[in-house]
């Protein structure tokens, strides 16, 4: 009895503090939700418990914000960027860390230099580059730069993995006259699946949430990423608080949903990604 009391006295403040931190993280989203459920045309308060929640607001927002189109568009971008970027970065990291290609470390240093470059320095030249290639306002014109801009982090990430592969596995994979490609495809790549999957998760998020490049390189909100589309949506509905919040929540929903389903995986990937980046 006494011990459980002391334990309670010990853990209660910690639980309260942790709850407060968690509440701070969701509070703005709850505030949005409460506004999104208010009757349309009303002036909702900052946060309130909706007594008469208008769930159909989400249906309306779905149609007004063109969510179906946006989901397709973002999915196309992710499918265009992530598999290609994961594969070619893994190949490059394998070449640098295991095949020990000549000048590999120079290449790697060049990539590390790219790690700190903000997107702001490439966005304007990319606009004119895409214009001259005739790729402005096309999804390909966003997919290609995103693959290139992902390379520094992706190769860095995969190199860490390929460096940790025990030497005897590498040697064994080279025996029997199997070419480097066979060794890579049938032995190294399957072993790298956890690293590849984490990288894929991180890239999925960064592509889906990409904003600056999306609004610069694509004029038509329907061809942008979900995040980029928000700009058009806010421009059109900034005065309608209810619809705006409902629409913005719908636009966030897919990532939140994917996160909640795969959360263990996400948390591990993102914490590791932060440490490595």
């Amino acid at each position: 009895m006494a011990t459980s009391l002391t334990r309670l006295r010990d853990t209660a403040p910690k639980t309260v503090l942790l709850s407060a931190a968690a509440l701070f993280s969701v509070f703005p989203l709850l505030s949005m939700l409460s506004a999104a459920l208010a009757p349309q045309g009303s002036a909702p308060a900052g946060i309130s418990i909706p007594l008469d929640p208008q769930w159909h607001n989400f249906v309306d927002a779905w149609n007004v914000a063109n969510i179906t189109t946006l989901l397709e568009s973002s999915a196309i971008l992710v499918v265009g960027v992530v598999p290609v970027a994961v594969l070619i970065s893994a190949m490059a990291a394998y070449a640098i860390a295991q095949l020990r290609i000549p000048f590999g470390s120079v290449f790697f240093l060049l990539l590390v230099f790219g790690l700190t470059l903000p997107f702001e320095i490439v966005v304007v030249p990319l606009y004119y580059q895409m214009q001259s290639l005739g790729l402005l306002n096309t999804r390909l014109g966003l997919i290609l730069p995103l693959i290139g801009l992902n390379m520094p982090f992706a190769v860095y990430w995969m190199r860490t993995h390929f460096q940790s592969v025990p030497a005897d596995i590498t040697e064994a994979s080279m025996i029997d006259g199997a070419g480097s490609w066979t060794a890579f495809r049938h032995i190294q790549l399957p072993l790298a699946i956890p690293a590849l999957a984490s990288l894929g998760v991180l890239m999925f998020l960064s592509t889906w949430n990409q904003f600056l490049l999306a609004i610069v390189l694509i004029d038509d909100p329907d061809k942008r990423t979900m995040a980029g589309a928000l700009q058009g949506f806010v421009g059109a509905h900034s005065t309608d608080v209810v619809l705006l919040n409902a629409g913005a929540l719908m636009i966030m929903a897919p990532t939140i949903l994917v996160f909640v389903v795969f959360q263990r995986f996400f948390v591990r990937a993102m914490l590791a990604g932060a440490v490595k980046g």
Binding site: P13, L17, A21, V124, S180, F211, L230, A248, A274
Partner: protein, 321 residues
């Protein structure tokens, strides 16, 4: 085994070629040439990544540097401008302001989240409940998952005249402080900063919690036996033990502050006036609404150099010894 080897193989090994190895190499000259060819063939693996990186990152960076020395409206003929664009970055009021603001944002995007994260993480370090910990972790991660642009919309609503911030102020009897936070020349910048605090606090807390988990619990027990109180334990054990995690948090969040765009662009567009403008927003507006491509590029180059100038010393400071 050529001099190129020094790049990849440990230098000592490449340098110290013993006579025995030299003779063995002569014997196997054919094999080593084949191996060398095989290593060059390895570039086939690296080529796609190199091409994509060169075409869509390195080339644009060089182009930006080139643009920065010209006056160009994006359509007509560019005229050489010498260093004029760079001079203006440090003299034109709105550009100078944008740089100062990005440094002010470091306080909110970086120092505040790391401090809060340290407090929460060190106090809750031995929380036993798996369930509560798991739920809290999920919720604290949410700000990292949703797009920055969407966070800006959430907070624009929080800060609006009818929003939750004003509502809370009234509720605690501070109704006199109600204001349109993002439209206020004094409060807009701190208000935008708080959005960054919100974005980064959860991630920093979780990173630091993970780091504390790696500190040997027996060290804390020993300190407790020696009579060290919680505050002493924090400064003697937790803080030094988290050196590299703190470094990671600070690095990520400082880059996010200096290169911020999404949050500021979607919440205030840099306004009111230029009260919250940051280099990212200026780069965008100079190039695409004011048609000053050269000026925009000069600012982008300065921004990139600033990020490097801040990050490199930080990396050195927090490198594990």
């Amino acid at each position: 085994m050529t001099s190129l080897d020094g790049m990849t193989a440990p230098a000592a090994q490449a340098g110290a070629v013993t006579p025995a190895r030299r003779s063995s190499r002569r014997a196997g000259a054919g094999a080593s040439a084949a191996r060398r060819r095989a290593r060059w063939a390895g570039w086939l693996f690296a080529l796609p990544a190199l091409v994509m990186y060169a075409v869509f990152e390195l080339y644009p960076v060089l182009t930006a540097v080139q643009y920065s020395f010209y006056d160009w409206d994006g359509i007509g003929v560019a005229t050489p401008a010498g260093l004029q664009n760079y001079v203006r970055v440090f003299t034109e009021p709105q550009l100078v302001a944008s740089i100062w603001h990005s440094f002010a944002l470091i306080l909110f995007f970086s120092l505040l989240p790391v401090t809060l994260g340290l407090v929460v993480a060190s106090i809750t370090r031995e929380i036993r409940s798996q369930f509560a910990g798991g739920v809290a972790r999920t919720l604290m991660f949410l700000p990292q998952i949703i797009p920055g642009a969407a966070s800006a919309i959430a907070w624009t609503w929080m800060y609006s005249p009818d929003g939750a911030v004003n509502q809370l102020l009234s509720a605690v009897g501070l109704g006199a402080l109600r204001t349109a936070w993002l439209g206020d020349f004094t409060w807009a910048l701190p208000a935008v900063g708080i959005i960054g605090t919100w974005l980064a606090t959860g991630l920093c807390t979780l990173l630091l919690l993970a780091g504390i988990g790696k500190i040997d619990a027996s060290i804390y027990e020993a300190a407790q036996i020696d009579g060290a109180n919680r505050i002493q334990q924090f400064f003697a054990i937790t803080l030094p033990g988290l050196r590299s995690e703190i470094g990671v948090c600070i690095t990520i969040t400082v880059i996010a502050a200096l290169a911020s765009f999404d949050v500021v662009f979607m919440s205030t567009q840099g306004g009111p006036g230029y009260a919250t403008t940051v280099p990212g927003v200026q780069v965008y507006q100079l190039a695409f609404t004011e048609n000053r491509v050269g000026q925009s590029s000069a600012l982008a180059v300065v921004l990139s150099l600033l990020v490097l100038a801040v990050i490199l010393p930080l990396q050195r400071l927090f490198r594990e010894r």
